[in-house]
């Protein structure tokens, strides 16, 4: 087996004379086309093609992960805009992660989408997304990176349109917010290339953040953070949760976009530029992370729909990764990346459990569903594992990565640590509420759904959930396994595996968890319902107004931008009308008015002609006196 991958690795990266790196992009695209070309009714054939594509991609990714190094270059122009791909240990690991999650969610999707319309489009966009993501990770040229990055935006738009083509509001919102982030990235790429003097990534190394570099760094960082879905580029994700098919949520906002965004952020902050701990840029990045953690978690706490709650939670977890990387400390970077991989696992798992609930009951609204634990035991166990992990309960994976981030945050500033701990409290409270409301308590189902119809989902859906839940446990207990891959990225000689060193922090974290449990019990006693366990926070005196405004979308950056754009459009309209008036009315009236005036002046009177002539003579004489 190992020898097989070794041979493949040599083959892929040109070790045997043929360079097949481009297969990572071309193969999914080709199979995506094939999947759409197969007749609509051949569900099995289409799905087989779809699964084969993701499996093949995973095999290639494993080969690259083993190969560790490789590159290919296709010269296009003289401006250094070449098709350049490169694999290093970091991107190899990222490709592997993409491949694994692609396979798991693909298996789940096939079961989930059975007997649903437009599944072919979903397959196609899914594989195109995979191809674009692979391309973006492999790209060794800023322009190529940009190309694949924009490609991801296109597939995202397409996937969101599958849900309801008549009401593309969510898709447009996602397009606008991602478009702004991508435009910033484009600007950043231009500034970075000008700063470095090259488009080739391998030639850009440790640029100082000054002058043009500030623009380049900030814009590229905004592009990366925007793709990861941090504030203020986040607000389309909860809307998408309502509109898009659930596997979409599991694969794009929860998995791929996080992986890619954080991957690029790490590349920017530690390869292209040189971010120093304690520098202004470091504080900016950390502040984005901290604000995202607190605000998104506060919103997650009050959601009544599983998918929306998970969406806000997804946004908040990005905050931890950005905070960790923003510290620029090795422990923070390793913690951020470790949290990324853990997050993708448990959040994928959580979305998949939500998908199972939706598949069986037709709803994810916790006001109508409750007490599913007895009916869907395996799903409930998977949910519990993932929820424990996200809440940071030892010894699940989330605990260890969060501890690393806490450590780095405390070292960088007390305020960041407090934000992170507050986030942990809110996360735990949210998931206590979600678990209590949806899986425990008295059984309640939406109208028209019979109890005997609600049973455990099929094995093809359980398998990915199970694998991911198991992963959450394994990556916690045997955390040396993932860390051995992650630690070399931050540098030589780091070892954070095993139990955390700082017992004080562990104690504080555990105390915060207990506080969350106490809070939940307090809320539950007060209202008698798991769903309303957070109501004392929701309707607390000062917070009440803020939450009301948030629910009315007063803080949605998209809505604010749209208002600004309306004003801008109004101004542009006015300018356009004015210019039109100048051309269509003023110029025409002026010239034809002048012309008629001149026509009428030539009335045939010789006297008048002579008068003009003498006036002309007078004028010339004056001119002469003036000029001579």
């Amino acid at each position: 087996m190992g020898a097989m991958f070794g041979n493949m690795a040599a083959f892929m990266t040109g070790g045997s004379g043929v360079n097949l790196l481009w297969l990572m992009v071309v193969l999914p695209v080709a199979l995506a086309v094939l999947a759409v070309a197969i007749p609509r009714h051949a569900f099995a054939a289409r799905s087989a093609c779809f699964l084969a594509a993701t499996l093949a991609d995973l095999l290639l990714a494993i080969a690259l992960f083993i190969a560790k190094e490789g590159s290919m270059l296709l010269r296009w122009t003289d401006f250094e805009i070449n098709l350049a791909f490169r694999v290093d240990p970091f991107s190899g690991a990222v490709l592997l992660a993409l491949g694994i999650f692609a396979v798991l969610v693909a298996i789940y999707s096939v079961a989930f989408l059975r007997r649903k319309e437009k599944y072919g489009q979903f397959y196609c966009y899914y594989l195109l997304t995979l191809a674009m993501a692979n391309g973006a990770v492999l790209a060794d040229n800023l322009v190529v990176l940009l190309f694949f990055w924009e490609g991801l935006m296109v597939t995202l738009f397409g996937m969101l349109l599958i849900g309801d083509r008549q009401k593309p509001a969510t898709a447009v919102k996602a397009l606008v917010l991602n478009g702004i982030a991508d435009l910033l990235l484009m600007l950043g790429v231009a500034a970075t290339a000008a700063h470095a003097g090259t488009f080739m990534m391998e030639g850009i190394s440790q640029l100082p953040i000054e002058g043009l570099g500030v623009l380049g760094f900030v814009c590229m960082m905004a592009g990366a953070v925007g793709k990861a879905g941090a504030m203020p580029f986040h607000s389309w994700i909860p809307d998408a949760a309502d509109a898009a098919p659930l596997p979409f949520m599991a694969i794009l906002p929860a998995a791929f976009e996080k992986i890619l965004g954080i991957y690029l952020l790490v590349r920017i902050t530690f390869q292209f530029y040189q971010m120093v701990p304690g520098s202004v840029m470091s504080i900016v990045v950390m502040a984005i992370g901290a604000i995202t953690i607190v605000l998104a978690n506060s919103m997650a706490l009050i959601q009544k729909d599983i998918k929306r709650l998970l969406s806000y939670s997804t946004i908040s977890q990005v905050g931890y990764m950005i905070l960790g990387i923003g510290t620029a400390l090795p422990v923070g970077i390793i913690g951020g990346l470790f949290h990324l991989i853990n997050h993708v696992m448990y959040k994928c798992c959580l979305f998949l459990t939500a998908g199972s609930v939706e598949k069986q009951t037709g709803s994810t609204d916790m006001r109508y569903i409750s007490g599913l634990g007895k009916l869907m035991p395996v799903t409930t166990v998977c949910f519990l594992t993932a929820a424990l992990s996200i809440s940071g309960v030892p010894p699940f994976s989330g605990f260890f990565s969060k501890e690393l981030v806490f450590d780095a945050a405390l070292e960088s500033g007390m305020i960041f640590y407090i934000a992170a701990v507050l986030g942990a409290f809110l996360t735990a409270a949210s998931f206590l509420k979600l678990g209590h409301a949806a899986y425990f308590g008295p059984l309640r189902l939406p109208e028209g759904v019979k109890t005997e119809d609600v049973k455990e989902v099929p094995g093809a859906m359980l398998l990915p959930m199970g694998i991911l839940a198991l992963g959450c446990l394994i990556f916690g207990v045997f955390n040396a396994l993932p860390l051995s891959v992650i630690q070399p990225i931050a540098g030589e000689g780091y070892d954070f595996s095993g139990w955390p060193d700082n017992w004080t922090l562990v104690a504080i974290s555990c105390a915060v968890l207990l506080l969350a449990v106490g809070n939940h019990l307090f809320g539950y006693r007060r209202t008698g319902e798991g769903l309303k366990a957070a109501d004392h926070i929701r309707y607390a005196p000062a917070l009440r107004t803020v939450y009301d405004c948030a629910e009315k979308r007063y803080f949605d950056p998209y809505d604010i931008i749209m208002q600004l754009i309306k004003g801008f459009a109004w101004i542009c309209y006015g300018i356009d009308r004015a210019i039109n008036w100048v051309y269509d009315v003023f110029a025409v009236d002026f010239v034809s008015g002048l012309s008629s005036r001149l026509r009428l002046m030539n009335n045939g009177s010789v006297g008048r002609y002579m008068a003009w002539s003498f006036l002309g003579v007078g004028f010339i004489v004056l001119l002469c006196l003036f000029l001579v």
């Binding site: 010239v591 034809s592 002048l594 012309s595 008629s596 001149l598 026509r599 030539n602 045939g604 010789v606 008048r608 002609y609 002579m610 003009w612 002539s613 006036l615 002309g616 003579v617 010339i620 004489v621 001119l623 002469c624 000029l627 001579v628």
Partner: protein, 488 residues
């Protein structure tokens, strides 16, 4: 100078006189029949002679040749002279006279005999203007040209024609007074009216005993010739005269006469006499740009075919003078070429207006419409001519306008150059309106039976259009020739 060339040079002055004599010595009945052929022959022979002299000068390596008409070329004697520019102008004159006579056949009825006499005298006058080398002779030929054209405008002895001729006469008289007065002042300073002597006297005019007299002299001369050429604001008579003249007369008048009497003289003055007087050029440039813009603007709302052409002439004269006023070789060459191009395309358009008048009986554009299908040759030649006027490549007008605007730009008056360029939009505007009203769209009621005018009119439209297109296409070769001569 070879004997052959000496003989050919005599034709410029002699042939018109000979034709007048022939016309009057022949029996009246015969003269009525062949008089137009005499004019056509005179025009064609003049073109051939111009080409021949050009070739001879080129072969001899000369740039100019002096000659007299049977008197000795002693020191101080008056003399004629040809150079490349006057040859170009003589060629233009021959071309327009030919076109005019070709048009006359269908428009003049029993006035052909008188027309021939007057046109030959006009030809004599214009050739004289092209050939003379002193200011007083210039004045004499100017008067010959003027008198002949007054009579020609009123040839039909109708109210309009007489009124137009009267206005031209009055304004010309004023111009004559100005010119004569100016010549007197210049003569006081220089003691001679030979171009070269006056230029020499003006070379350090600031230090002359009485510079005010000199300034008065050139202001008067400038104004006089400006009236003659119809530059704004001295243009009042021009549209009235053009509109009221009979068709064949307006071809000659609009195509060449006012250009010879005014513009050519001004070109000679700037190139040969007032070389060292920058003020002259500055004032001329101002008059030119005013004419370009206002002439084009005024043309936009005119309702008469010939009146539009008249205002267009004012605008195009502005371009010629703008080139001349730049004081550079490029500008002067641009002006000369635009002179030639203007003679070509404006004659084409006047011939077209004559064709429309013959076919429909009117030149009011509101009453016309949809003639393109009925009169394809007229319609197409009109399009070519107006595209050339507006300066659309690769037609001839584009190149000369380009040279003029480049020259204006080089003088540093960027604003004026830009304005001259911008006025092309107006040019296109009024000609598109003309073309749309007269030729495009459905045929207007009552014009369904219109037929293309055949014979001479059609022939001259075709020939002139061919010159416009051919000259435009061959222009690069001409530029190379001029470069070879060291002129640009």
């Amino acid at each position: 100078m070879s004997a052959g060339m000496e003989f050919v040079l005599l034709t410029f002055m002699g042939l018109p006189l000979l034709m007048v004599l022939l016309n009057n010595l022949l029996k009246k009945e015969i003269a009525q029949k062949i008089c137009l052929s005499l004019g056509i022959i005179a025009g064609i022979v003049q073109m051939a002679a111009a080409v021949f002299v050009f070739a001879s000068l080129k072969a001899a390596g000369q740039t100019e040749a002096d000659f007299s008409q049977f008197w000795d070329l002693g020191v101080g004697a008056s003399r004629f002279s040809v150079d490349f520019f006057s040859l170009l102008v003589l060629f233009c004159i021959g071309m327009v006279i030919t076109a005019g006579f070709l048009t006359a056949g269908k428009t003049l009825g029993d006035k052909k005999f008188n027309f021939t006499n007057l046109a030959m005298i006009l030809l004599l006058g214009m050739n004289g203007i092209a050939l003379v080398t002193d200011l007083f002779s210039l004045y004499v030929f100017l008067e010959i040209t003027g008198v002949a054209s007054f009579v020609m405008i009123s040839l039909n002895k109708e109210g309009d024609g007489i009124e137009g001729a009267f206005k031209y006469l009055v304004m010309s008289a004023i111009a004559t007074v100005f010119i004569l007065g100016g010549l007197a002042f210049l003569f006081m300073q220089s003691g001679s009216l030979q171009y070269g002597d006056v230029a020499a006297a003006l070379s350090d005019w600031q230090y002359a005993e009485q510079p005010a007299l000199l300034i008065a002299g050139f202001v008067l001369v400038l104004v006089g010739f400006s009236i003659k050429s119809g530059v704004m604001p001295f243009h009042g008579w021009l549209p009235d005269a053009y509109q009221s003249a009979p068709a064949a007369v307006s071809v000659i008048l609009g195509g060449i006469v006012t250009k010879m009497a005014g513009v050519y003289a001004l070109l000679r003055l700037t190139a040969d006499i007032f070389v060292n007087v920058p003020v002259f050029n500055q004032i001329l440039m101002l008059l030119a740009i005013v004419s370009i813009v206002l002439g084009a603007v005024a043309a936009i709302t005119q309702t008469d075919f010939k009146r539009i052409l008249a205002y267009s002439s004012i605008s195009q004269i502005g371009y010629i003078l703008l080139g001349a006023s730049c004081g550079s070789a490029v500008g002067l060459i641009g002006a000369m070429l635009h002179f030639f191009n203007h003679a070509t395309f404006k004659t084409t358009l006047f011939v077209n207006s004559a064709a429309v008048e013959i076919a429909t009986g009117t030149t009011e554009i509101e009453k016309l419409g949809g003639l393109q299908e009925k009169m394809p040759v007229t319609g197409v030649s009109s399009i070519l001519a107006f595209l050339s006027t507006a300066g659309i490549p690769p037609l001839a007008g584009f190149w000369s306008k380009l040279l003029i605007i480049i020259a204006a730009w080089q003088t540093g008056n960027v604003f004026i150059a830009g304005l001259a360029l911008f006025a092309s939009i107006f040019t296109a505007a009024y000609f598109l309106r003309l073309q749309r009203c007269v030729f495009f769209g459905p045929a207007v009621e009552g014009l369904e039976d219109t037929k293309e005018v055949t014979g001479g009119v059609c022939l001259s439209s075709l020939a002139l259009s061919a010159i416009t297109v051919g000259f435009g296409l061959l222009f690069p070769a001409l530029l190379l020739f001029l470069q070879g001569q060291g002129l640009i």
